[in-house]
């Protein structure tokens, strides 16, 4: 098994080097085990849970299904790199905390990234658009009710800050 992959990834605005790695490593593995970014989580390794969601060139993808060495010359944003515009938490993160949408928290980073992507593309989504946009994120604890409430709060907060 050769460990001779060497490449540079652009993660959260920073250039990060990966050395002596195995070609089969997923982006999720590299983020968590090589680049000190354990915020993205792995719960299935096959793209069926969304816990590993990151933004790759502006698209929300499962990082467990991205071969890390192919992600060169791309922009990667993880939960650690979401812009809170100087606040402690982004509006989506704050809504999750306020609305009780976090229980064990394992699905949470993936959901936060997926919802940021949704609201950046579609700031006023309908209820069904929200549900379909995050249908690839599984939560086992909450039953989703409080997650929908959190999205509703984030949508309202964004709308208010745009009209003010």
């Amino acid at each position: 098994m050769s460990m001779n992959e060497f490449y540079t990834l652009n993660v959260n605005g920073q250039s990060m080097q990966v050395q002596d790695s195995w070609v089969g490593e997923s982006l999720l593995y590299v983020l968590r085990e090589r680049l000190g970014l354990p915020g993205s989580k792995g719960a299935c390794e096959q793209g069926e849970c969304g816990s590993c969601t990151v933004l790759l060139d502006g698209q929300a993808v499962c990082s467990c299904l991205v071969m890390a060495a192919t992600a060169v010359d791309s922009t990667i944003v993880t939960v650690e790199g979401l812009d809170a515009h100087g606040a402690e938490l982004t509006d989506v993160q704050d809504a999750f905390v306020q609305q009780g949408a976090v229980q064990c928290g394992f699905c949470t980073p993936g959901l936060i990234v997926a919802i940021h992507h949704l609201l950046d593309e579609n700031p006023q989504p309908s209820e069904l658009e929200v549900k379909e946009a995050i249908s690839g994120n599984i939560c086992r604890c909450t039953g989703y009710g409080r997650i929908f409430a959190a999205v509703e709060q984030a949508v309202a907060v964004r709308k208010a800050s745009h009209t003010s």
Binding site: V102, G105, T142, G143
Partner: protein, 756 residues
Amino acid sequence: MSTTKVEQRERDILGVSAIRPDGAAKVTGDFSFTSDMNAENMLWGATLRSPHPYARIVSIDTSRALALPGVHCVITADDVPGKPTYGLISSDQPVFARDYVRYMGEPVAALAADHPETCRRALALIDIEYEVLKPLTNAEDAIAGSFPPIHPDGNIIRHQRIVRGDQSATGPIIVEGEYEIGMQDQAFLGLEAALAIPDSHGKGVELHVATQWLHEDLGQISACLDLPPQNVRLILGGVGGAFGAREDISLQVHCCLLALKAGRPIKMQYGREESFFGHVHRHPAKIFMRHHAQSDGRIIKIEARFVFDGGAYTSTSPAVLINGITHTQGPYKCDNATVDGWAIRTNNPPCGAMRGFGVVQACFAHESQMDKIATAAGLSAVDVRLINAMETGDTLITGQAMESIAPVARCIIETDHIPLPAPLAANAHELLLPGGSGLTASASHIVRGVGWGVSMKNLMYSEGFDDFATARCSIKEGVVYLKFATSEVGQGFVTLAPQIARSVLGLDDVVVEPIDTQIGSAGSTSASRQTWMSGGAVDGACRLVREQIFQHVGKQNNIDPLRLVIEGTDIIDQIGTFRIAVREAIDGLSISETFEHHHKPTEELDENGQGNCHTAFAFVAHRAVVDVDPELGLVKVVQIATAQDVGRVLNPLSALGQIEGGIAQGLGLAVMEEIVIQDGKVRNPSFTDYLLPTTLDAPDVVAKMIEEYEPQAPLGAKGIGEPPCISVTPAIVAAIRDAIAKDLHRIPVRPQDICL
């Protein structure tokens, strides 16, 4: 969607929707789950598991694996220095299999290497010769005695009967059914992971692990490692959900053994496939029930036979069986009963605790039966349940008196008052139809149904088990510190404990100390018990501290401490005018009090299943509205209405989260979740084929919390974790039956059950 308005209160005391103290860390990704932990000089551990449900181990050769560059050590049963087996009730489960493997996935060896990929390749180089044997897969064969023992302890794990009242009683209405419950998995998202750091002298180890009961793990681990318990330090890492699957040991001993053998920190983590093999599941069961009733629908007698398939090792099967059979009657009056219950060992995957713990299975049977009685008596689903509804003071079929507040009728009536959803529109959006974006149907193909389920659930442990909880409250430099070993698995005890302290002490600055074994046991985070037990311990410890504060203030101000009470953030003299801010009163004080909360003792059951074996009970009603495509057998659960007996709401947002989450799990068992087993082999150990509900499967949940203060509970609050997932399942099945006018007797309901 409903947004709960989070009211801005001044203080996060009991009754307020206090937000989680770990919420910010969890939403930023900073919160450390055990899988996020690393150590300097760390190696990776991995486990080799049996591919066969039943086989004799002829030989094990680890030499090729050891020779692979990057591999540091390989261990098997020969490397277990202490007790070779472990178990929650009976120590019948080997750390590593010796001589026989008894289920597909049973651990046979483990190794440590420099990279997870090296581990995977090395596992393939461990040579094991098996003599494959015909597995015992049908529990009835074990009961009949027609299969030789697959374990020295035999194939019958437990047999228990309940016999009460007039055995010859009968009634004009007799309805019966054979009910089948498939194997559900807890499927917590936070996959099993642990980090074991050996002491430099090799005689101790520190284990960071996600578990439900630190002290129980500690006892079992130290016995297997042959180390004194004080040399094994367990620290609770971040837990990504549990739902029962972390009550049993999984990777704890393996990880510690590798660390001690390699002399380096070892990180082990399971992938999803391994996780399906690495923990116990919900017991699949077959239940026969026959109800005799009066012509007005009142139950006269129940006969039942329960068979729980416990799989290869005992785990908590004996307790699951008792829970199941003692809940045969459901939340209904019943004077006469004959119940026969079996927990069986087979070569199917081991089963144990999962949210609901045996009552889920019993509830599906008794609620299906109640609908049959309703049909025979010409009653509605609501009326048949109201006429039989249990009340405080009733006698259970075990002879135990129902001492808990039992607002069964109120739960049903309040659920019934919740408005039904609007009918499906002719031009309904495709995502609202069964089949969703698969575009399998239009609204004209869909039929709607409504169904009911009501349940009772015991709280805390039973049959004489003293599952106490310990907590320490300390005050130092104006800050309250709470110490407990209560596992936080996502349910929110770390939110509740400070709320208790703030209410009792009138102080707001509360810190939860690290959760580890440096304090007495809190018991398991299971059985809907922690609010009652650990909450009671925190409450008790805080009261002791408060007493000391009152003694101090009383002495300083020449007031009898009995006159002092907390009002908001002040201490006041109830009879006089004295008032002092608590913060001022504790200036310079250092206090620490530890309290153990015990519930009242319970009894074992005698050979007729008679005895006060349970502590307390909670009740809940569910009404399900489903849309069904009868030709394709596809289902969309539209609405779940529920009224749950919670005693007292301590944190409305947390409580709602438990209810909605439990409902989703019950929905999963009703229509989509099943571990498919064929000849002892698991066919679907992945999220591709073990289906969990997504956002597009989640119904609208309308929940009412019934607050009738439970005097036996230290805070007046009942546990709320399990009831939401119990009667929602039969409610959904009843709704499907209503839509298709056809009987269903199995969960999960599959499309072919509906349409073929």
